[in-house]
């Protein structure tokens, strides 16, 4: 079971209107730098329940999905992670 977790994101808006997320900032102000954006596609998150532009990002060596839903960002969070968090 996954949960939808809205997060703060630092992003770059370039002159052509492209948006590139640079870092995810967790609630406790811990900053996770995005090493590389591997893919950008419109997609659905069936696990968390939502749809938008899906950024496949490499964060701390792991591939993670970051979704831009209208003007909010969310990640898919496993329930276990949520409880630990």
């Amino acid at each position: 079971m996954c949960l939808k977790k809205y997060v703060n994101v630092t992003a770059r808006f370039d002159e052509n209107g492209n948006i590139t997320p640079l870092a995810v900032i967790w609630d406790n102000d811990v900053k996770f730098e995005i090493e590389r954006v591997l893919d950008i596609n419109p997609a659905v998150s069936l696990k968390a329940g939502g749809a938008g532009i899906r950024y496949t990002c490499r964060i701390c060596g792991h591939e993670k999905y970051l979704f831009l839903e209208e003007n909010r960002w969310f990640v898919e969070l496993k329930e276990k992670q949520y409880i630990a968090y």
Binding site: M1, P42, L46, G49, A51
Partner: protein, 425 residues
């Protein structure tokens, strides 16, 4: 039919039209956003407190319990006690509708929406025959599933009417191809009521002369249908025989506005003319504001009234002059109401609409006895109030009558969920 364009190349002249229909649209979008509901019977229903308590749509599990769109929530709950009712979120549905349109626009610019969840696509420039159309339909269905997380039923055919029948033929998540050589087997056995523009009243009329299926309709001489249904007879005969040639519009082609109206179910039954006046004023104000926004004036005012036994009627009258003045529209509506309603029963819902438009920049013939100066002042006052409302919200300036009963007047028809019904023509 094929057209030879070079020694070796032939191009099909047959159109390839798709009709895509999102299955249980509102319920699917809700279930997507709430994974915990996916294995439960779910329906999207109006607000019971505000007396809008009907089922708007239901998911496939609720369908198995025979829950029907349009029935009261308490009726649905009797059939399925575990039914989860979620309130509608129209901005979300509109976002998903736009996302679906974006997918369709990858394949063609001829995309014609029909309501929030349905669209016709003319892909003749990319697909040369219905077989290729079927392949495109598969791609679209897959893409919608990946990007929106909902399913669509798609009809593939050589005209819009059969494409729509195809999308209704098999649900959910299905593709039906209706060709010139198989439409008699697929379409003709279907009930006449399944055909576009055959509503309950028309189906009843057709049934009265022994026409129950689309095939029977197709094989009835046009003159008999014309005598029964007027000019619609010939049209339905064409539809049933697959002779519809209506084109699919370009996506950005906004259809011409033919009428503007607002209606509401009151939070309590309306008991007297004063109650009706309050509601009609709020509705007329919204209608007149929309008229002014679009630079139009109207000449015909129509009211619709539904009493608490759900009997409804409409009445209309043509005014002497074109107008977009709130008070004139409200007064015309109120006059109609006083003339045709005798207060045998209380009223549940009421609506007002205007038709017969001209541009507000067009010169109009004034008449000798009306005070045009006063009308001009009223129009200017209305526009000033519009500006204030646009800046500070719809409740910033209100006539005193609306303060008499805040419960009745406390709604904003202009803002609250405006979904325009679509017409085929």
């Amino acid at each position: 039919m094929f057209l030879k364009i070079s020694r070796k190349r032939w191009v099909s002249l047959e159109r390839v039209i798709l009709h895509s229909d999102c299955n249980s649209f509102y319920a699917s979008v809700e279930c997507l956003h709430r994974p915990d509901l996916r294995d439960k019977p779910v329906a999207v229903g109006g607000d019971v407190e505000a007396r809008h308590g009907i089922i708007l749509t239901k998911n496939q599990i609720a369908k198995k319990f025979n829950v029907k769109t349009g029935e009261a929530i308490w009726q649905a709950k009797q059939k399925c006690p575990e039914l989860v009712i979620v309130p509608p979120d129209f901005p979300l549905y509109m976002r998903f509708s736009k996302m679906a349109h974006k997918v369709y626009l990858n394949y063609t610019d001829k995309v014609e929406p029909f309501g929030l969840d349905e669209c016709w696509l003319d892909i003749s420039s990319n697909a040369h025959n219905l077989k290729e159309g079927f392949e495109f339909a598969k791609k679209i269905s897959r893409q919608i599933k990946c990007e929106l997380g909902i399913t669509v039923s798609i009809g593939v055919s050589y005209n819009k009417v059969f494409a729509k029948l195809g999308s209704d033929y098999k649900k959910p998540d299905a593709i039906t191809v209706i060709k010139k050589d198989n439409f008699k087997e697929i379409v003709w056995p279907l009930p006449a009521g399944d055909l576009l523009y055959v509503g309950k009243a028309t189906a009843r009329k057709l049934s009265s002369i022994g026409i129950h299926t689309i095939g029977e309709l197709a094989n009835t001489p046009t003159n008999i249908l014309n005598s029964l249904l007027g000019k619609w007879g010939g049209l339905l005969h064409c539809f049933a025989n697959g002779l519809d040639t209506t084109p699919v519009c370009q996506y950005d082609n906004q259809p011409t506005v033919k009428s503007i109206g607002n209606s509401t179910t009151a939070p309590r039954d309306l008991e007297n003319n004063e109650d009706v006046k309050i509601i009609l004023f709020v509705l007329a104000d919204s209608v007149a504001r929309r008229l002014r926004e679009q630079g139009l004036k109207a000449k015909t005012v129509c009211i619709s009234v539904r009493d608490n036994q759900l009997y409804s009627f409409t009445r209309q009258r043509t005014l002497n002059r074109y107008t977009n003045i709130t008070s004139e529209i409200e007064r015309a509506g109120m006059e109609l109401f006083r003339k045709y309603y005798n207060w045998n029963k209380s009223i549940r819902s009421i609506g007002i609409s205007v038709t017969d438009f001209v541009s507000d920049t067009i010169s109009v013939q004034t008449d000798l006895f009306s005070n045009e100066l006063k009308r001009e002042k009223k129009e200017k006052l209305d526009r000033s109030v519009d500006n204030l409302k646009n800046r500070f919200g719809s409740y910033c300036v209100q006539p005193a009558i609306l303060l008499a009963d805040r419960e009745l007047s406390g709604f904003d028809p202009k803002k609250e969920h405006t979904i325009h019904p679509e017409g085929y023509f």
